[in-house]
């Protein structure tokens, strides 16, 4: 690679990453500003003050929201990973009749837009008495076609001989799943888990529908509420709230970045 080309590449990288990351930096920056600074349209805060964060915590029960989001996201993640594992295992290692047809049906569910089902789903949750509960927020999402598909792609890379070796040894099919398939597929499982968690954490419409109780709101809805109440006056506080909302996922994303990249690719490609 020539020097000139290298220089050009770095310049491009720096400019584009700055543009991509700027809105996030901007939010951080605003979150440290006092009211006057914000209104003057400044970009860099004059000092590091956490008063906006304190105010954000006081205005709405942000900690409670964060906790709710954490519980709901963890539940959804666990449910999706477990259910996808079981289904993908059946689709890979159990040769039952009609398997291919069933798999096709599973995959085609990806095409049903979730919004097309939300009204009846809302009615179901209400009928079950699950509004304002963790169950109502999480259970409808446990089955996941994409997760099943991704894991099936991974499971298919496990040599059939491993399965046969366990058969010769007399190990049951469930134990094969538990003792061989899952440990071998660790990378993909972690990927899927991160992916599920991020998506669940960022869920917006469904929590908006099924939570009325202040104490059951997730952090996304809390943020929206805060924004619509405070918008004209307290931008710094709203941004502090936004930063608190994105911090957990950004950290998770940066930590799991490498795995996520490896694992997601495996499923996306044949």
């Amino acid at each position: 690679m020539t020097r000139k080309k290298k220089f050009l590449l770095y310049a491009l990288l720096i400019v584009s990453s700055f543009v991509m990351f700027f809105p996030i930096l901007y939010a951080f920056s605003i979150s440290f500003m006092q009211g006057g600074e914000v209104l003057r349209g400044k970009i860099i805060p004059s000092g590091l003050s956490f008063t906006n964060y304190e105010a954000a915590m006081q205005k709405v029960p942000l900690l409670r929201y964060l906790f709710n989001s954490f519980v709901v996201s963890t539940l959804i993640m666990a449910g999706q990973v477990v259910f996808s594992c079981l289904a993908a295992f059946a689709f890979t290692f159990i040769p039952f009749k009609g398997r291919n047809l069933l798999f096709l049906i599973f995959i085609s569910t990806m095409m049903i837009p979730w919004e097309a089902t939300m009204v009846p789903n809302f009615q179901t949750i209400r009928a079950l008495g699950w509004t304002d509960t963790y169950a109502g927020l999480s259970v409808p999402f446990f089955a996941m076609a994409f997760g099943t598909f991704l894991l099936r792609q991974q499971f298919k890379t496990i040599p059939l001989e491993m399965y046969e070796a366990t058969q010769v040894a007399g190990v049951s099919r469930f134990q094969f799943l538990w003792k061989v398939v899952l440990p071998v597929s660790k990378t993909t499982l972690v990927t899927l888990a991160i992916y599920c968690f991020l998506n669940a954490w960022n869920m917006y419409l469904w929590p908006l529908l099924v939570t009325n109780d202040e104490r059951m709101r997730t952090v996304q809805i809390g943020l929206k509420q805060m924004q619509s109440q405070e918008v004209s006056t307290e931008w710094g506080v709203v941004m502090a709230g936004a930063v608190l909302v994105i911090l957990p996922t950004l950290i998770l994303l940066f930590a799991g970045q490498k795995r996520l990249q490896e694992g997601l690719t495996r499923g996306a490609i044949k």
Binding site: I24, G41, E115, A116, P120, L198, L223, E262, T265
Partner: protein
Amino acid sequence: MIAVKDRLRAEPKSRWRFPVTLEGMLYLLPSIVLFAVFLFYPMFKTIYLSLFLTDAQGNAQIFVGLEHYSQLLSSPSFRASLKATVLFVLYTVPAGVILALGLALLANQKLKGIGFFRTLFSSTMGMSVAASSVIWLFIYNPAIGIANTIMTTLGLQEMQWLLNPDTALISVAIPTIWMNTGFSFLILLGGLHNIDASLYESGKIAGVSDFYSLRKITLPLLSPTLLFIVTVSLINSFQTFGQIDILTKGGPMESTNVIVYSIFKDAFVNFNIGSASAQAVLLFAFILIVTILQFKWSEKKVHYQ
């Protein structure tokens, strides 16, 4: 992508063995039950409700046949909503995929510190709709947001962004592209990683230009990944909700009232559930047709390794 081939052959029957079909079903049961309750049943229920007038609770009252559909198709408001949806898809999908592809190609270079840039490029994957929208709402603020600061520094006119019906949809599209880039970028980067390096080396030996090898090696081999990303982006774009709710609430003058937002408003604000259901059915049909067309069209263009 969904061609299924039997890897396992029929196993010897055994005297005491648990029937294989039953065992398979046992593993699938949790997913099947949930799909049935929260996907198939509501899908049919939606179709059913779209044929009725309902009360505010969503109970079917009077059968009206296809009246909701004919009303919708002749209503200027729904047509505007369709137009907004289609325009929104056109604004976001091609631009988003091309941007992500560009970034992925850039980040696929072997340079020192490239990991840092990759992390920054993928960062929007961790951004929630609510947080992103709140941030962009401020960026677009006509008086104090940075969007207009940039415009004036560049010597351009200040704009009303979200408040002007002519620019509102594009102004929502930009943050949407930005939010989706992280995920698309990660997937495309992974796809690039999977292309055998020796292919490029043989290209180098043959002395072809970078652009030629991009066109003749990279893009054809990346086509399955691209197809995946385009499909996911399409489906996501059709289902945009959060940005609209926070940034514009469907306005101004319904210029950003995309179908999903319209469904939400009809169902949960106006309590016109029959009409909302009809719109949902149309959305489903729309997505189905677009996806099928896209797969048909790409069948010839996608090269599986």
